[in-house]
Protein backbone atom coordinates (compact mmCIF):
# COMPACT_ATOMS: atom_id res chain seq x y z
CA UNK A 1 0.00 0.00 0.00
CA UNK A 2 1.17 3.48 -0.62
CA UNK A 3 2.60 5.42 2.22
CA UNK A 4 0.15 8.31 2.03
CA UNK A 5 -2.74 5.85 2.14
CA UNK A 6 -1.20 4.11 5.13
CA UNK A 7 -0.79 7.40 6.93
CA UNK A 8 -4.39 8.31 6.18
CA UNK A 9 -5.55 4.98 7.58
CA UNK A 10 -3.51 5.52 10.71
CA UNK A 11 -5.18 8.83 11.26
CA UNK A 12 -8.50 7.08 11.21
CA UNK A 13 -7.22 4.86 14.00
CA UNK A 14 -6.10 1.71 12.17
CA UNK A 15 -3.46 0.17 14.34
CA UNK A 16 -2.50 -2.34 11.64
CA UNK A 17 -1.71 0.43 9.19
CA UNK A 18 0.57 1.92 11.76
CA UNK A 19 2.22 -1.42 12.34
CA UNK A 20 3.00 -1.49 8.64
CA UNK A 21 4.70 1.89 8.93
CA UNK A 22 6.65 0.74 11.95
CA UNK A 23 7.76 -2.31 10.00
CA UNK A 24 8.99 -0.10 7.17
CA UNK A 25 10.96 2.31 9.29
CA UNK A 26 11.97 0.62 12.53
CA UNK A 27 15.29 -0.54 11.12
CA UNK A 28 16.42 2.88 10.05
CA UNK A 29 15.16 4.60 13.16
CA UNK A 30 16.80 2.03 15.41
CA UNK A 31 20.08 2.34 13.54
CA UNK A 32 19.99 6.11 13.69
CA UNK A 33 19.41 5.98 17.44
CA UNK A 34 22.09 3.35 17.91
CA UNK A 35 24.73 5.27 15.99
CA UNK A 36 23.78 8.44 17.82
CA UNK A 37 23.77 7.05 21.35
CA UNK A 38 26.12 4.09 20.97
CA UNK A 39 23.81 2.06 23.18
CA UNK A 40 21.30 -0.59 22.20
CA UNK A 41 19.22 0.10 25.26
CA UNK A 42 18.87 3.78 24.45
CA UNK A 43 18.27 2.97 20.81
CA UNK A 44 15.42 0.75 21.86
CA UNK A 45 13.88 3.39 24.09
CA UNK A 46 14.27 6.14 21.53
CA UNK A 47 12.75 4.03 18.75
CA UNK A 48 9.74 3.27 20.91
CA UNK A 49 9.31 6.86 22.02
CA UNK A 50 9.69 8.20 18.51
CA UNK A 51 7.01 5.92 17.07
CA UNK A 52 4.70 6.62 19.96
CA UNK A 53 5.15 10.34 19.51
CA UNK A 54 4.52 10.00 15.79
CA UNK A 55 1.37 8.03 16.45
CA UNK A 56 -0.06 10.47 18.94
CA UNK A 57 0.74 13.50 16.80
CA UNK A 58 -0.35 12.02 13.48
CA UNK A 59 -3.35 14.31 13.62
CA UNK A 60 -1.05 17.32 13.44
CA UNK A 61 0.94 15.89 10.57
CA UNK A 62 -0.01 18.08 7.64
CA UNK A 63 1.61 16.00 4.98
CA UNK A 64 3.69 18.86 3.60
CA UNK A 65 6.81 16.78 4.13
CA UNK A 66 7.15 13.07 3.50
CA UNK A 67 6.16 10.90 6.42
CA UNK A 68 9.69 9.50 6.64
CA UNK A 69 11.25 12.93 6.86
CA UNK A 70 8.88 13.89 9.60
CA UNK A 71 9.55 10.67 11.51
CA UNK A 72 13.30 11.15 11.28
CA UNK A 73 13.04 14.72 12.40
CA UNK A 74 11.28 13.53 15.54
CA UNK A 75 13.73 10.67 16.06
CA UNK A 76 16.73 12.95 15.51
CA UNK A 77 15.49 15.41 18.08
CA UNK A 78 14.96 12.61 20.56
CA UNK A 79 18.53 11.45 20.04
CA UNK A 80 19.85 14.94 20.63
CA UNK A 81 17.71 15.24 23.76
CA UNK A 82 19.07 11.98 25.05
CA UNK A 83 22.68 13.10 24.49
CA UNK A 84 21.96 16.34 26.28
CA UNK A 85 20.33 14.50 29.15
CA UNK A 86 23.36 12.28 29.48
CA UNK A 87 25.71 15.20 29.75
CA UNK A 88 23.58 16.69 32.48
CA UNK A 89 23.65 13.39 34.32
CA UNK A 90 27.42 13.28 33.96
CA UNK A 91 27.72 16.74 35.47
CA UNK A 92 25.77 15.65 38.50
CA UNK A 93 27.81 12.56 39.12
CA UNK A 94 30.93 11.69 37.21
CA UNK A 95 30.27 8.04 37.62
CA UNK A 96 32.54 5.94 35.46
CA UNK A 97 31.11 2.55 36.42
CA UNK A 98 27.70 3.61 35.26
CA UNK A 99 28.90 3.65 31.69
CA UNK A 100 31.47 0.97 32.13
CA UNK A 101 30.32 -1.12 29.23
CA UNK A 102 30.82 1.49 26.61
CA UNK A 103 33.81 2.92 28.40
CA UNK A 104 35.58 -0.34 28.12
CA UNK A 105 34.77 -0.73 24.50
CA UNK A 106 36.27 2.65 23.83
CA UNK A 107 39.44 1.85 25.66
CA UNK A 108 39.93 -1.36 23.81
CA UNK A 109 39.48 0.14 20.41
CA UNK A 110 42.71 2.08 19.98
CA UNK A 111 44.62 -1.05 20.94
CA UNK A 112 43.10 -3.19 18.28
CA UNK A 113 43.45 -0.54 15.63
CA UNK A 114 46.86 0.90 16.40
CA UNK A 115 48.59 -2.41 15.95
CA UNK A 116 50.90 -1.58 13.04
CA UNK A 117 51.17 -3.89 10.12
CA UNK A 118 48.09 -5.77 11.10
CA UNK A 119 45.46 -5.83 8.43
CA UNK A 120 42.37 -4.30 9.89
CA UNK A 121 39.34 -6.42 9.40
CA UNK A 122 36.10 -4.89 8.28
CA UNK A 123 34.67 -5.47 11.72
CA UNK A 124 37.45 -3.55 13.34
CA UNK A 125 37.10 -0.78 10.84
CA UNK A 126 33.40 -0.61 11.57
CA UNK A 127 34.01 -0.45 15.26
CA UNK A 128 36.58 2.26 14.79
CA UNK A 129 34.24 4.36 12.73
CA UNK A 130 31.43 3.76 15.19
CA UNK A 131 33.70 4.76 18.03
CA UNK A 132 34.93 7.83 16.19
CA UNK A 133 31.35 8.91 15.50
CA UNK A 134 30.66 8.74 19.23
CA UNK A 135 33.39 11.35 19.71
CA UNK A 136 31.86 13.93 17.42
CA UNK A 137 29.78 16.80 18.69
CA UNK A 138 26.03 16.18 18.67
CA UNK A 139 25.33 18.13 15.51
CA UNK A 140 28.25 16.66 13.62
CA UNK A 141 27.33 13.18 14.72
CA UNK A 142 23.77 13.57 13.54
CA UNK A 143 24.64 14.88 10.11
CA UNK A 144 27.29 12.24 9.45
CA UNK A 145 24.93 9.47 10.50
CA UNK A 146 22.08 10.81 8.39
CA UNK A 147 24.20 11.36 5.30
CA UNK A 148 27.02 8.83 5.28
CA UNK A 149 25.46 5.94 7.19
CA UNK A 150 21.82 6.29 6.29
CA UNK A 151 22.28 7.85 2.90
CA UNK A 152 19.71 10.64 3.04
CA UNK A 153 19.95 13.35 0.40
CA UNK A 154 20.93 16.90 1.25
CA UNK A 155 17.36 18.03 0.68
CA UNK A 156 15.94 15.43 3.00
CA UNK A 157 18.44 16.31 5.70
CA UNK A 158 17.72 20.02 5.34
CA UNK A 159 14.06 19.31 5.83
CA UNK A 160 14.69 17.04 8.81
CA UNK A 161 16.97 19.50 10.55
CA UNK A 162 14.90 22.46 9.48
CA UNK A 163 17.85 24.30 7.98
CA UNK A 164 19.06 25.47 4.57
CA UNK A 165 20.94 23.39 2.01
CA UNK A 166 23.94 25.63 2.55
CA UNK A 167 23.96 24.77 6.24
CA UNK A 168 23.82 21.07 5.44
CA UNK A 169 26.80 21.43 3.08
CA UNK A 170 28.99 23.38 5.44
CA UNK A 171 28.06 21.40 8.54
CA UNK A 172 28.67 18.10 6.79
CA UNK A 173 31.99 19.37 5.54
CA UNK A 174 33.06 20.29 9.07
CA UNK A 175 31.70 17.09 10.54
CA UNK A 176 33.60 14.95 8.07
CA UNK A 177 36.76 16.93 8.75
CA UNK A 178 36.32 16.38 12.48
CA UNK A 179 35.71 12.68 11.99
CA UNK A 180 38.80 12.34 9.85
CA UNK A 181 40.88 14.28 12.30
CA UNK A 182 39.78 12.07 15.15
CA UNK A 183 40.57 8.90 13.26
CA UNK A 184 43.95 10.21 12.20
CA UNK A 185 44.80 11.47 15.68
CA UNK A 186 44.05 8.05 17.07
CA UNK A 187 46.08 6.58 14.27
CA UNK A 188 43.03 4.56 13.48
CA UNK A 189 42.79 5.71 9.95
CA UNK A 190 45.93 5.41 7.95
CA UNK A 191 45.21 5.14 4.25
CA UNK A 192 46.27 1.48 4.32
CA UNK A 193 43.66 0.54 6.89
CA UNK A 194 40.84 1.99 4.94
CA UNK A 195 42.01 0.43 1.71
CA UNK A 196 42.18 -3.02 3.15
CA UNK A 197 38.72 -2.49 4.53
CA UNK A 198 37.48 -1.54 1.12
CA UNK A 199 39.01 -4.55 -0.45
CA UNK A 200 37.31 -6.73 2.09
CA UNK A 201 33.93 -5.30 1.34
CA UNK A 202 34.22 -5.33 -2.42
CA UNK A 203 33.86 -9.08 -2.54
Amino acid sequence: MEEAALVARCRRGHATAFEELVARYERKVYNLAYRMTGSHEDARDITQEAFLKVYTSLRHFRGDAAFGTWLFRIASNMCLDELRRRRRRLLVSIDEPYQHEEGEVQRQLPDSGADPGQVAEIRDLQRMVHDAIQHLSDDHRLIVVLRDLQGFSYEEIASMLDCSLGTVKSRLNRARAALRKYLEDQELLSPADVKSGQRGVGR
Binding site: R12, H14, E26, N31, E41, L149, N173, P191, V194, G197
Partner: protein, 392 residues
Protein backbone atom coordinates in the same frame (compact mmCIF):
# COMPACT_ATOMS: atom_id res chain seq x y z
CA UNK B 1 46.87 28.92 -1.63
CA UNK B 2 43.61 30.76 -1.22
CA UNK B 3 42.22 28.67 -4.02
CA UNK B 4 43.24 25.47 -2.24
CA UNK B 5 41.30 26.52 0.83
CA UNK B 6 38.22 27.26 -1.18
CA UNK B 7 38.47 24.02 -3.09
CA UNK B 8 38.97 21.98 0.03
CA UNK B 9 35.94 23.54 1.68
CA UNK B 10 33.85 22.42 -1.28
CA UNK B 11 35.28 18.91 -1.58
CA UNK B 12 32.73 17.37 0.75
CA UNK B 13 29.79 18.62 -1.31
CA UNK B 14 31.66 17.80 -4.52
CA UNK B 15 32.01 14.23 -3.41
CA UNK B 16 28.25 13.99 -3.02
CA UNK B 17 27.60 15.57 -6.39
CA UNK B 18 26.02 18.53 -4.64
CA UNK B 19 27.87 21.34 -6.43
CA UNK B 20 26.86 23.30 -9.49
CA UNK B 21 28.36 22.64 -12.90
CA UNK B 22 30.65 25.69 -12.81
CA UNK B 23 31.99 24.88 -9.40
CA UNK B 24 32.50 21.31 -10.41
CA UNK B 25 34.63 22.35 -13.34
CA UNK B 26 36.70 24.71 -11.20
CA UNK B 27 37.35 21.99 -8.66
CA UNK B 28 38.28 19.37 -11.22
CA UNK B 29 40.66 21.71 -13.00
CA UNK B 30 42.29 22.66 -9.75
CA UNK B 31 42.70 19.09 -8.60
CA UNK B 32 44.27 18.08 -11.87
CA UNK B 33 47.11 20.44 -11.14
CA UNK B 34 47.31 20.32 -7.33
CA UNK B 35 48.52 17.06 -5.72
CA UNK B 36 47.75 18.31 -2.21
CA UNK B 37 44.07 18.86 -2.93
CA UNK B 38 43.91 15.60 -4.88
CA UNK B 39 45.25 13.75 -1.84
CA UNK B 40 42.77 15.58 0.33
CA UNK B 41 39.93 14.43 -1.89
CA UNK B 42 41.19 10.85 -1.90
CA UNK B 43 41.42 10.82 1.87
CA UNK B 44 37.95 12.27 2.25
CA UNK B 45 36.58 9.71 -0.17
CA UNK B 46 38.10 6.88 1.85
CA UNK B 47 36.49 8.23 4.97
CA UNK B 48 33.07 8.50 3.39
CA UNK B 49 33.44 5.04 1.89
CA UNK B 50 34.31 3.66 5.29
CA UNK B 51 31.15 5.23 6.69
CA UNK B 52 29.02 3.86 3.88
CA UNK B 53 30.32 0.37 4.51
CA UNK B 54 28.95 0.40 8.03
CA UNK B 55 26.54 -2.49 8.39
CA UNK B 56 23.17 -1.83 9.86
CA UNK B 57 22.72 -3.30 13.31
CA UNK B 58 19.94 -5.79 13.84
CA UNK B 59 16.72 -4.53 15.32
CA UNK B 60 15.63 -6.48 18.41
CA UNK B 61 12.94 -8.92 17.37
CA UNK B 62 10.35 -7.81 19.88
CA UNK B 63 10.73 -4.10 19.27
CA UNK B 64 7.81 -3.79 16.89
CA UNK B 65 5.55 -5.58 19.30
CA UNK B 66 6.67 -3.34 22.13
CA UNK B 67 5.88 -0.28 20.03
CA UNK B 68 2.49 -1.61 18.99
CA UNK B 69 1.58 -2.56 22.50
CA UNK B 70 2.20 0.95 23.68
CA UNK B 71 0.38 2.41 20.71
CA UNK B 72 -2.63 0.23 21.40
CA UNK B 73 -2.55 1.10 25.08
CA UNK B 74 -2.61 4.75 24.14
CA UNK B 75 -5.45 4.15 21.72
CA UNK B 76 -7.57 2.33 24.27
CA UNK B 77 -6.99 5.00 26.89
CA UNK B 78 -8.10 7.61 24.40
CA UNK B 79 -11.22 5.76 23.45
CA UNK B 80 -12.20 5.23 27.06
CA UNK B 81 -11.84 8.89 27.86
CA UNK B 82 -14.22 9.84 25.11
CA UNK B 83 -17.05 7.66 26.34
CA UNK B 84 -20.18 8.86 27.93
CA UNK B 85 -20.49 7.10 31.31
CA UNK B 86 -24.24 6.61 31.11
CA UNK B 87 -23.86 4.88 27.77
CA UNK B 88 -21.37 2.55 29.41
CA UNK B 89 -23.91 1.72 32.08
CA UNK B 90 -26.59 0.95 29.50
CA UNK B 91 -24.20 -1.26 27.54
CA UNK B 92 -23.23 -3.06 30.71
CA UNK B 93 -26.89 -3.67 31.54
CA UNK B 94 -27.33 -5.22 28.12
CA UNK B 95 -24.32 -7.45 28.65
CA UNK B 96 -25.50 -8.63 32.02
CA UNK B 97 -29.11 -9.07 30.95
CA UNK B 98 -28.25 -11.13 27.92
CA UNK B 99 -25.45 -12.89 29.69
CA UNK B 100 -27.70 -13.94 32.56
CA UNK B 101 -30.44 -14.92 30.15
CA UNK B 102 -28.15 -17.31 28.34
CA UNK B 103 -26.67 -18.85 31.44
CA UNK B 104 -23.34 -17.12 31.05
CA UNK B 105 -23.86 -15.19 34.25
CA UNK B 106 -24.60 -18.32 36.19
CA UNK B 107 -21.36 -19.83 34.97
CA UNK B 108 -19.51 -16.72 35.92
CA UNK B 109 -21.01 -16.79 39.34
CA UNK B 110 -20.18 -20.45 39.94
CA UNK B 111 -16.65 -19.83 38.83
CA UNK B 112 -16.32 -16.86 41.10
CA UNK B 113 -17.67 -18.66 44.12
CA UNK B 114 -15.71 -21.81 43.49
CA UNK B 115 -12.65 -19.60 43.12
CA UNK B 116 -13.45 -18.08 46.48
CA UNK B 117 -13.68 -21.48 48.08
CA UNK B 118 -10.43 -22.50 46.54
CA UNK B 119 -8.67 -19.57 48.16
CA UNK B 120 -9.62 -20.60 51.63
CA UNK B 121 -7.49 -23.75 51.87
CA UNK B 122 -4.52 -21.71 50.74
CA UNK B 123 -4.47 -22.08 46.97
CA UNK B 124 -4.54 -18.65 45.39
CA UNK B 125 -4.20 -20.25 42.04
CA UNK B 126 -7.82 -21.32 41.92
CA UNK B 127 -9.09 -17.82 42.14
CA UNK B 128 -6.44 -16.49 39.88
CA UNK B 129 -7.44 -18.94 37.21
CA UNK B 130 -11.14 -18.46 37.71
CA UNK B 131 -11.35 -14.73 38.07
CA UNK B 132 -9.62 -13.32 35.04
CA UNK B 133 -10.63 -16.10 32.70
CA UNK B 134 -14.23 -15.22 31.98
CA UNK B 135 -13.81 -11.50 32.32
CA UNK B 136 -11.56 -10.39 29.48
CA UNK B 137 -13.63 -11.75 26.67
CA UNK B 138 -17.17 -10.67 27.52
CA UNK B 139 -16.26 -7.58 29.49
CA UNK B 140 -13.77 -6.06 27.08
CA UNK B 141 -16.28 -5.01 24.44
CA UNK B 142 -18.53 -3.25 26.89
CA UNK B 143 -16.73 0.08 26.95
CA UNK B 144 -15.77 0.16 23.30
CA UNK B 145 -19.21 -0.81 22.12
CA UNK B 146 -21.24 1.76 23.91
CA UNK B 147 -22.07 3.58 20.71
CA UNK B 148 -25.45 4.01 19.16
CA UNK B 149 -25.84 0.82 17.12
CA UNK B 150 -27.94 -1.14 19.54
CA UNK B 151 -28.96 -3.53 16.81
CA UNK B 152 -25.45 -4.81 16.26
CA UNK B 153 -24.82 -4.98 19.91
CA UNK B 154 -27.59 -7.32 20.75
CA UNK B 155 -26.91 -9.38 17.66
CA UNK B 156 -23.35 -9.74 18.83
CA UNK B 157 -24.16 -10.85 22.31
CA UNK B 158 -27.02 -13.05 21.35
CA UNK B 159 -24.61 -15.17 19.39
CA UNK B 160 -21.95 -15.17 22.05
CA UNK B 161 -22.98 -18.18 24.12
CA UNK B 162 -23.28 -20.54 21.18
CA UNK B 163 -19.92 -20.27 19.47
CA UNK B 164 -17.88 -19.85 22.62
CA UNK B 165 -18.11 -23.21 24.33
CA UNK B 166 -17.23 -25.52 21.42
CA UNK B 167 -13.88 -23.90 20.58
CA UNK B 168 -13.01 -23.73 24.26
CA UNK B 169 -13.59 -27.40 24.69
CA UNK B 170 -11.94 -28.39 21.44
CA UNK B 171 -8.94 -26.13 21.89
CA UNK B 172 -8.57 -27.12 25.51
CA UNK B 173 -8.00 -30.66 24.46
CA UNK B 174 -5.49 -29.96 21.71
CA UNK B 175 -3.59 -26.94 23.04
CA UNK B 176 -0.69 -27.36 25.40
CA UNK B 177 -0.87 -25.52 28.66
CA UNK B 178 0.39 -22.00 28.16
CA UNK B 179 2.59 -20.98 31.01
CA UNK B 180 4.52 -17.76 31.40
CA UNK B 181 7.61 -18.45 33.41
CA UNK B 182 9.66 -15.94 35.28
CA UNK B 183 12.58 -16.24 37.63
CA UNK B 184 14.04 -13.67 39.94
CA UNK B 185 17.49 -14.45 41.26
CA UNK B 186 19.74 -12.59 43.67
CA UNK B 187 23.26 -13.93 43.78
CA UNK B 188 26.34 -12.88 45.71
CA UNK B 189 29.65 -13.37 43.99
CA UNK B 190 33.15 -13.22 45.47
CA UNK B 191 34.73 -9.79 45.86
CA UNK B 192 36.23 -8.47 42.66
CA UNK B 193 34.49 -11.06 40.55
CA UNK B 194 31.44 -9.01 39.68
CA UNK B 195 32.25 -7.99 36.11
CA UNK B 196 33.53 -11.45 35.31
CA UNK B 197 30.33 -13.03 36.65
CA UNK B 198 28.25 -10.55 34.68
CA UNK B 199 30.06 -11.50 31.52
CA UNK B 200 29.68 -15.19 32.23
CA UNK B 201 25.97 -14.73 32.90
CA UNK B 202 25.54 -13.01 29.54
CA UNK B 203 27.48 -15.83 27.95
CA UNK B 204 25.08 -18.37 29.46
CA UNK B 205 22.15 -16.45 28.06
CA UNK B 206 23.59 -16.45 24.58
CA UNK B 207 24.50 -20.10 24.77
CA UNK B 208 20.92 -20.86 25.77
CA UNK B 209 19.71 -19.23 22.59
CA UNK B 210 18.28 -16.23 24.40
CA UNK B 211 19.12 -12.57 24.51
CA UNK B 212 19.86 -9.97 27.13
CA UNK B 213 16.98 -7.55 27.27
CA UNK B 214 18.50 -5.22 29.80
CA UNK B 215 21.84 -5.05 31.50
CA UNK B 216 22.79 -2.34 33.91
CA UNK B 217 25.50 -1.63 36.41
CA UNK B 218 24.94 0.63 39.36
CA UNK B 219 26.02 1.27 42.92
CA UNK B 220 24.00 0.79 46.07
CA UNK B 221 24.26 3.15 49.02
CA UNK B 222 27.19 1.42 50.67
CA UNK B 223 29.20 1.73 47.49
CA UNK B 224 28.53 -1.85 46.60
CA UNK B 225 28.40 -2.50 42.88
CA UNK B 226 25.46 -4.35 41.43
CA UNK B 227 24.78 -5.76 38.01
CA UNK B 228 21.21 -6.28 36.95
CA UNK B 229 20.46 -8.43 33.94
CA UNK B 230 17.12 -9.23 32.41
CA UNK B 231 17.33 -12.13 30.01
CA UNK B 232 14.76 -13.71 27.73
CA UNK B 233 15.37 -17.34 26.87
CA UNK B 234 13.44 -19.98 24.97
CA UNK B 235 11.07 -21.65 27.34
CA UNK B 236 12.81 -25.05 27.21
CA UNK B 237 16.16 -23.55 28.21
CA UNK B 238 14.71 -21.80 31.24
CA UNK B 239 15.49 -24.33 33.97
CA UNK B 240 18.97 -24.95 32.70
CA UNK B 241 19.76 -21.25 32.63
CA UNK B 242 18.46 -20.72 36.15
CA UNK B 243 20.68 -23.55 37.35
CA UNK B 244 23.68 -22.06 35.57
CA UNK B 245 23.01 -18.70 37.21
CA UNK B 246 22.78 -20.41 40.58
CA UNK B 247 26.29 -21.69 40.05
CA UNK B 248 27.71 -18.18 39.78
CA UNK B 249 27.83 -17.67 43.54
CA UNK B 250 25.79 -17.83 46.69
CA UNK B 251 22.06 -17.68 46.00
CA UNK B 252 20.51 -15.03 48.23
CA UNK B 253 17.03 -15.08 46.93
CA UNK B 254 15.34 -17.11 44.30
CA UNK B 255 11.80 -16.73 43.16
CA UNK B 256 10.34 -18.75 40.34
CA UNK B 257 6.91 -18.07 39.15
CA UNK B 258 4.74 -19.76 36.57
CA UNK B 259 1.54 -18.16 35.44
CA UNK B 260 -0.88 -20.37 33.58
CA UNK B 261 -2.68 -18.30 30.98
CA UNK B 262 -4.20 -21.16 29.02
CA UNK B 263 -7.77 -20.26 29.85
CA UNK B 264 -7.27 -16.58 29.29
CA UNK B 265 -5.64 -17.36 25.98
CA UNK B 266 -8.34 -19.71 24.79
CA UNK B 267 -11.08 -17.32 25.81
CA UNK B 268 -9.40 -14.55 23.94
CA UNK B 269 -9.02 -16.76 20.89
CA UNK B 270 -12.70 -17.61 20.99
CA UNK B 271 -13.55 -13.98 21.38
CA UNK B 272 -11.49 -13.06 18.34
CA UNK B 273 -13.13 -15.83 16.34
CA UNK B 274 -16.53 -14.49 17.28
CA UNK B 275 -15.58 -11.06 16.21
CA UNK B 276 -14.37 -12.45 12.92
CA UNK B 277 -17.71 -14.14 12.39
CA UNK B 278 -19.32 -10.83 13.10
CA UNK B 279 -17.01 -9.13 10.65
CA UNK B 280 -18.09 -11.55 7.91
CA UNK B 281 -21.71 -10.99 8.74
CA UNK B 282 -21.26 -7.23 8.55
CA UNK B 283 -19.70 -7.66 5.13
CA UNK B 284 -22.80 -9.55 4.03
CA UNK B 285 -25.00 -6.83 5.41
CA UNK B 286 -22.91 -4.29 3.57
CA UNK B 287 -23.77 -6.04 0.31
CA UNK B 288 -27.46 -5.57 1.07
CA UNK B 289 -27.20 -1.96 2.19
CA UNK B 290 -29.01 0.42 -0.12
CA UNK B 291 -28.68 3.99 1.07
CA UNK B 292 -25.48 5.88 1.77
CA UNK B 293 -26.36 6.26 5.41
CA UNK B 294 -26.87 2.52 5.76
CA UNK B 295 -23.51 1.87 4.17
CA UNK B 296 -21.86 4.39 6.45
CA UNK B 297 -23.45 2.86 9.49
CA UNK B 298 -22.31 -0.64 8.61
CA UNK B 299 -18.84 0.56 7.70
CA UNK B 300 -18.46 2.38 10.99
CA UNK B 301 -19.31 -0.79 12.77
CA UNK B 302 -16.89 -2.73 10.56
CA UNK B 303 -14.06 -0.37 11.46
CA UNK B 304 -14.78 -0.88 15.10
CA UNK B 305 -15.00 -4.63 14.88
CA UNK B 306 -11.80 -4.83 12.87
CA UNK B 307 -9.80 -2.68 15.21
CA UNK B 308 -11.08 -4.78 18.06
CA UNK B 309 -9.93 -7.90 16.23
CA UNK B 310 -6.55 -6.33 15.56
CA UNK B 311 -5.92 -5.26 19.10
CA UNK B 312 -6.96 -8.59 20.54
CA UNK B 313 -4.84 -10.43 18.03
CA UNK B 314 -2.01 -8.28 19.29
CA UNK B 315 -2.73 -9.50 22.79
CA UNK B 316 -2.69 -13.09 21.56
CA UNK B 317 0.71 -12.53 19.97
CA UNK B 318 1.92 -10.94 23.15
CA UNK B 319 0.86 -14.00 25.14
CA UNK B 320 2.50 -16.31 22.64
CA UNK B 321 5.74 -14.43 22.86
CA UNK B 322 5.65 -14.30 26.65
CA UNK B 323 5.12 -18.04 26.76
CA UNK B 324 7.76 -18.87 24.17
CA UNK B 325 10.40 -16.72 25.82
CA UNK B 326 10.76 -16.96 29.58
CA UNK B 327 12.14 -14.07 31.57
CA UNK B 328 14.98 -14.33 34.04
CA UNK B 329 15.90 -11.40 36.24
CA UNK B 330 19.36 -11.72 37.67
CA UNK B 331 20.88 -9.41 40.26
CA UNK B 332 24.56 -9.91 41.00
CA UNK B 333 26.15 -8.37 44.07
CA UNK B 334 29.63 -8.60 45.49
CA UNK B 335 29.71 -10.32 48.82
CA UNK B 336 30.41 -8.43 52.03
CA UNK B 337 29.08 -5.10 53.34
CA UNK B 338 25.47 -4.63 54.31
CA UNK B 339 23.11 -7.42 53.49
CA UNK B 340 20.54 -6.04 51.16
CA UNK B 341 18.23 -8.76 50.13
CA UNK B 342 15.27 -10.86 51.03
CA UNK B 343 13.98 -8.73 53.89
CA UNK B 344 12.70 -5.64 52.15
CA UNK B 345 11.74 -7.77 49.17
CA UNK B 346 9.64 -9.99 51.43
CA UNK B 347 7.90 -7.05 52.98
CA UNK B 348 7.17 -5.52 49.62
CA UNK B 349 5.88 -8.78 48.28
CA UNK B 350 3.60 -9.03 51.28
CA UNK B 351 2.31 -5.53 50.75
CA UNK B 352 1.60 -6.34 47.13
CA UNK B 353 -0.10 -9.58 48.09
CA UNK B 354 -2.25 -7.86 50.70
CA UNK B 355 -3.20 -5.24 48.16
CA UNK B 356 -4.03 -7.85 45.55
CA UNK B 357 -6.15 -9.91 47.86
CA UNK B 358 -8.19 -6.95 49.04
CA UNK B 359 -8.64 -5.97 45.40
CA UNK B 360 -10.00 -9.43 44.71
CA UNK B 361 -12.42 -9.19 47.58
CA UNK B 362 -13.53 -5.84 46.30
CA UNK B 363 -14.02 -7.30 42.82
CA UNK B 364 -16.20 -10.08 44.22
CA UNK B 365 -18.31 -7.69 46.24
CA UNK B 366 -18.74 -5.45 43.23
CA UNK B 367 -19.65 -8.38 41.03
CA UNK B 368 -22.35 -9.39 43.48
CA UNK B 369 -23.72 -5.87 43.75
CA UNK B 370 -23.53 -5.10 40.06
CA UNK B 371 -27.04 -6.15 38.98
CA UNK B 372 -28.64 -4.04 41.72
CA UNK B 373 -26.43 -1.10 40.93
CA UNK B 374 -27.33 -1.34 37.27
CA UNK B 375 -31.04 -1.48 37.97
CA UNK B 376 -30.64 1.53 40.21
CA UNK B 377 -28.71 3.32 37.48
CA UNK B 378 -31.43 2.56 34.94
CA UNK B 379 -34.15 3.80 37.23
CA UNK B 380 -32.08 6.89 37.93
CA UNK B 381 -31.57 7.56 34.26
CA UNK B 382 -35.24 7.06 33.48
CA UNK B 383 -36.10 9.44 36.30
CA UNK B 384 -33.65 12.04 35.02
CA UNK B 385 -35.12 11.76 31.53
CA UNK B 386 -38.60 12.14 32.94
CA UNK B 387 -37.63 15.23 34.94
CA UNK B 388 -36.06 16.77 31.85
CA UNK B 389 -39.17 16.11 29.79
CA UNK B 390 -41.33 17.70 32.49
CA UNK B 391 -39.17 20.81 32.37
CA UNK B 392 -39.36 21.21 28.59
Amino acid sequence: MKECQEVQAALSAYLDGEVGLDERETIEQHIAGCPACAAELASLRRLVDACRQMDEVEVPGDLRQAVMQRVRGREQARRKRGLFPAAVAVAAVLVVAIGVGSGLGTNLWTQLTSGLKATAPGGEAGLRAALPAPTPAPAAPAPSKAGSEGVFQSADYATLPQPVPPPTAAAGASINRMVIRRADLGIEVPKGGLLESGRRAEGFVEAAGGYVQRSSTYEEEAGRKVIGITARVPEDAFTHLVNQFDGLGVVKHRNIDAEDITERYIDLQAYVRNREVQERRLLEILELAKSVSEIMQVENELVRVRSDIDSNKGRLRYYENAVAMSTVNLTLREEGSPAVGPKPVGLWAEIVRAFESSLRTLALVLAAALPYLLIAALVGLAYLGWVRRQRD
